[in-house]
C-alpha cells in the first residue's frame, strides 16, 4: 500500500528582510500507514516548519519553493486555500506544543469541537455535540457532558492537551502531526498522554509524525526516526538501530547529551556550539563547525544521503559506527 505521507525534496523558505531563511531545505521522508515517525532535532532545526508545510499553514513571508508532499497519493503542494481546508482536520490533523494557547480563550469547548465536526461533515448540531462528547470521553476527560460547556481556562494544561487530541481525532484522520505535544506538560502527565495517544492511534490505525527534541520520548514511542539538522534530515532509520549505532555525529551527540541510565549524576555532554543561521548556511556540511570528526572534504562539499542496509540513510562524508552497521 502507498505510504500515508510522502515528502520529497521539500524546501520551505522565509523571505525576510534579513535574507532568505532556508528553514526546510530539501527534506524527504515518508510515513507508512499506522506508523509512528519521530522527527527529532534541536530548536530551530525546521521541525515545526516541516509540519506546517504538510498542513498548508505556511504564511508569507514563507513559501514552499520546491518539492512534493503526497498525502494518500494526493499532491498537496500548489493546492489552493479551499483545497487545503478540505484536507485539514479530515485527512491530516495537527496538535501543537502549547496547550495553553491552542484553544480559543473566549469560546466554549463545545463551540470549538462542534465547529470542527461540521467543518467536514454536514450533521446536525445535536449529532456533532454527541460526537464531541464521545471524543472527550475517549481521551479520558471525566464527565464530558458537563466539560463541554466549560471554557478552556477551566481546564488544566494536561486536560487542554487532551481536548486538542480529541479534536484531532474527531474525523479519524489517517495521519496526525504532533508538534511537541507533551513538552509543556509535567513529566507524569507527559507519560500518561504519551501512553494514551499510543493506544488510541494503535486502535484506529492512525499514523503519527511525532516532533520532539527529546530522544528519550522517541525511543519508547516511534517505529522509525528522522533526525533533522539545519533544515535537512541527516539520519533516518528504524528507532533501535539508529539509537544503538548512530551513523551521524550529530545523532551521536544528541544521544550523548541524554542522561545515561544507571549513571545518575554523571555529567551530560552537550554538543558544542550552536545551530548555524539558516539565512547563511556554510558551503559544506552544516554541522562542520560543531563536528568532532570534521575533515577537509566536509568544508568543501555538503554531503548527500548515503543509503545503508535496513532502510537507513545518513547525510555525512564520514559516518560513525560502520562496523556496527555491517555486523
Amino acid at each position: 500500500m502507498a505510504p500515508v505521507l510522502e515528502v520529497s525534496g521539500l524546501k520551505t523558505h522565509f523571505f525576510t528582510r534579513a535574507g532568505t531563511v532556508k528553514s526546510v531545505d530539501g527534506v524527504s521522508f515518508h510515513v507508512e500507514r499506522g506508523e509512528v515517525l519521530g522527527l527529532v532535532g534541536e530548536s530551530g532545526s525546521g521541525k515545526s516548519v516541516t509540519g506546517f508545510s504538510v498542513m498548508g499553514l505556511i504564511d508569507p513571508p514563507g513559501r514552499i519553493v520546491e518539492g512534493s508532499i503526497k498525502l494518500n497519493g494526493k499532491e498537496l503542494v500548489g493546492l489552493d486555500e479551499e483545497g487545503f481546508r478540505e484536507v485539514r482536520g479530515r485527512e491530516v490533523a495537527m496538535i501543537f506544543q502549547d496547550p495553553m494557547m491552542t484553544l480559543n480563550p473566549v469560546l466554549r469547548v463545545d463551540t470549538q469541537m462542534i465547529e470542527a465536526v461540521t467543518a467536514h461533515d454536514k450533521v446536525s448540531h445535536k449529532a456533532a455535540r454527541e460526537r464531541s462528547r464521545d471524543a472527550l470521553a475517549k481521551v479520558g476527560i471525566p464527565s464530558p457532558e458537563e466539560r463541554l460547556n466549560a471554557y478552556p481556562h477551566q481546564f488544566s494544561g494536561g486536560m487542554r492537551q487532551r481536548v486538542a487530541i480529541a479534536i484531532a481525532l474527531l474525523h479519524r484522520p489517517p495521519l496526525i502531526i504532533c508538534d511537541e505535544p507533551t513538552t509543556a506538560l509535567d513529566v507524569t502527565i507527559q507519560s500518561q498522554i504519551l501512553a494514551e495517544m499510543q493506544g488510541l492511534c494503535a486502535d484506529t490505525g492512525t499514523a503519527l509524525v511525532w516532533i520532539t527534541h527529546d530522544l528519550g520520548v522517541v525511543a519508547g514511542l516511534a517505529d522509525r526516526i528522522a533526525v533533522m539538522y539545519a533544515g535537512r534530515i541527516v539520519e533516518t532509520g528504524a528507532v533501535d538501530p539508529v539509537l544503538d549505532t548512530p551513523l551521524h555525529p550529530y545523532t551521536s551527540g544528541l544521544l550523548g547529551s541524554l542522561p545515561a541510565e544507571g549513571e545518575p549524576g554523571a555529567p551530560l555532554r552537550q554538543i558544542r556550539g550552536s545551530t548555524p543561521s539558516l539565512a547563511r548556511l556554510p558551503q559544506g556540511c552544516a554541522f562542520a563547525a560543531r563536528c568532532d570528526y570534521v575533515q577537509a572534504d566536509c568544508l568543501a562539499l555538503a554531503p548527500d544521503v548515503t543509503p545503508f542496509p535496513g532502510a537507513r540513510g545518513v547525510r555525512c562524508h564520514h559516518p560513525l559506527n560502520l562496523a556496527g552497521v555491517a555486523a
Binding site: 499553514l57 481546508r85 479530515r90 491552542t102 484553544l103 480559543n104 473566549v106 466554549r108 467543518a119
Partner: protein, 325 residues
C-alpha cells in the same frame, strides 16, 4: 455576580457624591453670577434683593447645604436665565444629544470595524496603508474644522443633506427620537459623522492592532488546522477576541462622545444639551452648569457599570477572577 453588582453600585454612589461636592464648589469659585443677571441701571438695593431671591447672599457652606438637600430630591436649582428647573432643562435636551452620540457610536463600529479588521489581516496591502493614513487624519483634524468642511461639501456644495437642525421627532415609549423618518436621518447624518470621526479612527486602530495580534496566535492556527473556513475564523475566532477591548473602550468613550457633542451641536445647531451648556457657560447660569455636569457624571457612572457587565459577559476569564477574589 450579585455581590459584584452591589459593590459596583456602592462605588458609583460614592463617585456621584464626590462629584456633587467638587462641582458645587468649583462652579461657585468662578465669577459672581449676580453681575451677569442684573441690568446696569439697578441700584445696590435692587441687586441685594435679586441676590436674596436667588439665595446668593448666604454663606457658601449654607448654600451648599441647601443645594445638597435639594439635590437629594432631584432638584438642582432653577436656571437664572430661563427661570425653569435646571435639571428639567437638561433632561429635556438630553434625548437629542444621546441620539446623536448613539448614531455616532454605531457609525464608529460599522465603519471602523471592517476597515480595521482588513488593515490588520492584510497589513502589507496598499488599501491597508491608505486606511491607516486616513485614520491618522481622523485623529489629527480638529472636529470643528471637519464639521465646517462637511457642511461646505454636502450641504452647501452638493446640497445633498441639510446643514443644521434636527428632523421631526416622534415619541416611542417615552423617548423622543428623530430616527424613525428619512428626514430625521438626513439631519443626523452630518453631525453624527462629524462626531464619529475620532471614534472611527480609534476603532480602526483598535481593530487593526487586535486582528494583527490575534492572527498570530496559536488558536487561530489551530482553528485553521481543524479545517475551518476563513470567514468563520475571522468572524468568530478573531472577532470575538478583538471585540473585548473594542467594546470596553467604546463604552467608556460614549461619555466623551456626549462631551464632544458640545462642539458638534454648536456647529450643526443640534438642539441638544451641549448647546445648552455653552449658553449657560457664557451667561454664568450656575444651576444649569451644575445640572449638566451632574447628569453627565451619572451617565458616565452608569456606562462604566454597563461596560463592566458586558465585558464580563464577553470574556469568560473575567468572571473567574471575580469569583475567586
Amino acid at each position: 455576580m450579585l455581590a459584584f453588582i452591589l459593590r459596583r453600585l456602592a462605588q458609583a454612589l460614592f463617585v456621584i457624591a464626590a462629584m456633587l461636592v467638587i462641582v458645587f464648589f468649583g462652579v461657585n469659585v468662578v465669577g459672581d453670577p449676580i453681575y451677569m443677571l442684573i441690568s446696569p441701571e439697578m441700584d445696590q438695593q435692587q441687586i441685594a434683593e435679586t441676590a436674596r431671591a436667588l439665595g446668593l447672599d448666604r454663606p457658601i457652606w449654607e448654600q451648599f447645604l441647601v443645594f445638597l438637600k435639594n439635590a437629594a430630591q432631584g432638584d438642582l436649582g432653577r436656571s437664572f436665565v430661563h427661570g425653569e428647573s435646571a435639571i428639567k432643562l437638561i433632561l429635556h435636551r438630553m434625548p437629542a444629544t444621546l441620539e446623536l452620540a448613539f448614531v455616532a457610536l454605531v457609525l464608529a463600529i460599522v465603519i471602523g470595524l471592517p476597515l480595521g479588521l482588513y488593515a490588520g489581516l492584510k497589513p502589507e496591502s496598499r488599501l491597508s496603508r491608505f486606511i491607516m493614513a486616513v485614520s491618522i487624519l481622523g485623529f489629527s483634524l480638529p472636529t470643528f474644522w471637519v464639521g465646517l468642511m462637511l457642511i461646505l461639501t454636502f450641504a452647501v456644495g452638493l446640497g445633498w443633506l441639510p446643514a443644521t437642525g434636527r428632523g421631526p421627532t416622534v415619541s416611542i415609549l417615552g423617548l423622543e427620537t428623530s430616527l424613525l423618518s428619512l428626514k430625521g436621518w438626513q439631519h443626523v447624518a452630518l453631525p453624527a459623522l462629524n462626531l464619529a470621526l475620532l471614534k472611527i479612527s480609534l476603532v480602526i486602530r483598535l481593530a487593526r492592532a487586535g486582528a494583527r495580534e490575534a492572527a498570530l496566535m496559536d488558536y487561530v492556527k489551530f482553528a485553521r488546522a481543524k479545517g475551518l473556513s476563513q470567514s468563520r475564523i475571522i468572524g468568530v475566532h478573531i472577532l470575538k477576541n478583538i471585540m473585548i477591548p473594542i467594546v470596553t473602550v467604546l463604552g467608556l468613550e460614549f461619555g466623551s462622545l456626549v462631551a464632544f457633542s458640545v462642539v458638534t451641536e454648536t456647529i450643526f445647531a443640534w438642539p441638544g444639551m451641549g448647546r445648552l451648556l455653552l449658553e449657560a457657560i457664557t451667561r454664568l447660569d450656575r444651576p444649569v452648569i451644575v445640572a449638566y455636569v451632574m447628569v453627565v457624571v451619572v451617565l458616565f457612572v452608569t456606562i462604566n457599570l454597563l461596560v463592566d457587565l458586558v465585558y464580563s459577559a464577553l470574556d469568560p476569564r473575567v468572571r473567574l477572577t471575580e469569583a475567586t477574589s
